[in-house]
Symmetry: C2
Subunit: 247 residues, 2 copies
């Protein structure tokens, strides 16, 4: 349901970026110009990539690892407002400063493009502008879906919602549509989850324990999750079985 542009990845083995991203590898034919302004950056877990208010002189995609967008109040309360998984786009063409902190939640590699030349390219290449609009609409959908989670769901439903997003994005590659169990490692600390869900880390821990006790999920160690029945998890999340499209 997601892909707006069908990109053929068969000749693109070393490209980690999936359909939604703007990627020099995938579009080498039409976007050779990007090669010149492209560079890679690595970050360590915990590192802040951009502070809220800073100049942001690049755009880019996540290659590997996880980044988060967070907003912070003066008194220290924080809310994660976006979770960037591999292939997700970061950047605000036409804008100068970042309205939120961007942090590396795990070790992270990004594929960046200098903003100025990227914008020029965008202005002369309708294709890119169009694709960016589609990506931004996707992000907007995800943000709005998440508003329902934050505003109206219980702690237990919030956890189930988060798990089902991560399961779908992280683990389902190669398992699409299968009914079997889904297995993955949680890429977030309990604290990061609490920042995303508008909860405290204690509540996150308690609800995860409860879902485990009720066998909605199986836990090995603290991070290794097995979901025996995805449908059951989505019921717990309060989603209709159809399944959304978050983040």
């Amino acid at each position: 349901m997601t892909p707006t542009f069908k990109i053929d990845h068969t000749n693109c083995a070393d490209c980690p970026i999936r359909h939604r991203a703007v990627c020099a590898h995938c579009d080498a034919d039409e976007l050779e110009e990007l090669e010149g302004i492209k560079y890679y950056r690595s970050f360590e877990a915990g590192q802040t990539i951009i502070w809220s208010g800073d100049q942001m002189n690049f755009v880019g995609s996540v290659v590997s690892g996880i980044a988060s967008l967070t907003q912070t109040m003066e008194d220290g309360r924080t809310q994660m407002v976006g979770l960037l998984l591999p292939s997700d786009f970061v950047g605000r063409p036409g804008r100068d400063s970042a309205p939120y902190d961007v942090q590396a939640t795990t070790d992270l590699v990004m594929c960046c493009f200098r903003k100025k030349p990227f914008e020029e390219l965008m202005n002369t290449t309708p294709h890119i502008a169009h694709r960016l609009l589609q990506m931004t609409l996707d992000e907007l959908d995800a943000a709005r879906e998440w508003m329902l989670v934050l505003g109206r769901k219980t702690a237990r439903e919030k956890i189930a919602s988060l798990l089902s997003i991560i399961a779908r994005r992280d683990a389902s590659v190669g398992q699409r549509g299968s009914d079997g169990p889904i297995v993955f490692d949680l890429p977030l600390t309990r604290e990061a989850m609490s920042d995303y869900l508008g909860l405290t880390l204690e509540t996150v821990s308690r609800q995860i324990s409860a879902l485990k006790k009720d066998e909605v999920i199986l836990l090995e160690g603290k991070r290794h999750v097995t979901i025996p029945d995805m449908g059951r998890l989505m019921e717990e999340a309060g989603d209709d079985s159809d399944g959304g499209f978050l983040v």
Copy 2:
């Protein structure tokens, strides 16, 4: 801080649409083509314009009145995910169906464009595509700012946040930057506010009474609000005094 495109409205008296919208009036020079596919629609308060999942065969701007975007869970819990004030854009170029209900919160007039021709125009007119991207980025910023409100603010802060948005968007026209009191009529019922804020209507009512008792706001009747000190209200909202850019 908001306008990305400076449009001169001095010769545009009958155009209700402000800087952020795509508007045939304002851009008559370059967008004459739009005239042919433009039409107006009126709705009564309470009417549903689009149901979640429906085909959405137009895009458009709010001319007068207020519309809301809401998501609903199977058990009836609802969350408003967007509030559309005059000049705001509705529509998802490139998408077929709506992911949420669109409702007229007050009597409403919209300026619509048939989607197909609008999209064709968009594909051949980089200017429009570019402007749409900017508008979508604005909406994304607003949605993310609202995630902080939903996830981390107290009921009192939520109400103050909502009042300060409405005050800035609704009443400040012609009062920009002034330090004097701000006066406006609340365009939302207590229930609509509760849907927007992730609260119950009783809590909304109690917190409004509390803000009134503490003289953060003055109330005449149930809807007529005076804000004697905007700075005070924004402190109550937990915003830094700079002031955000919501909705």
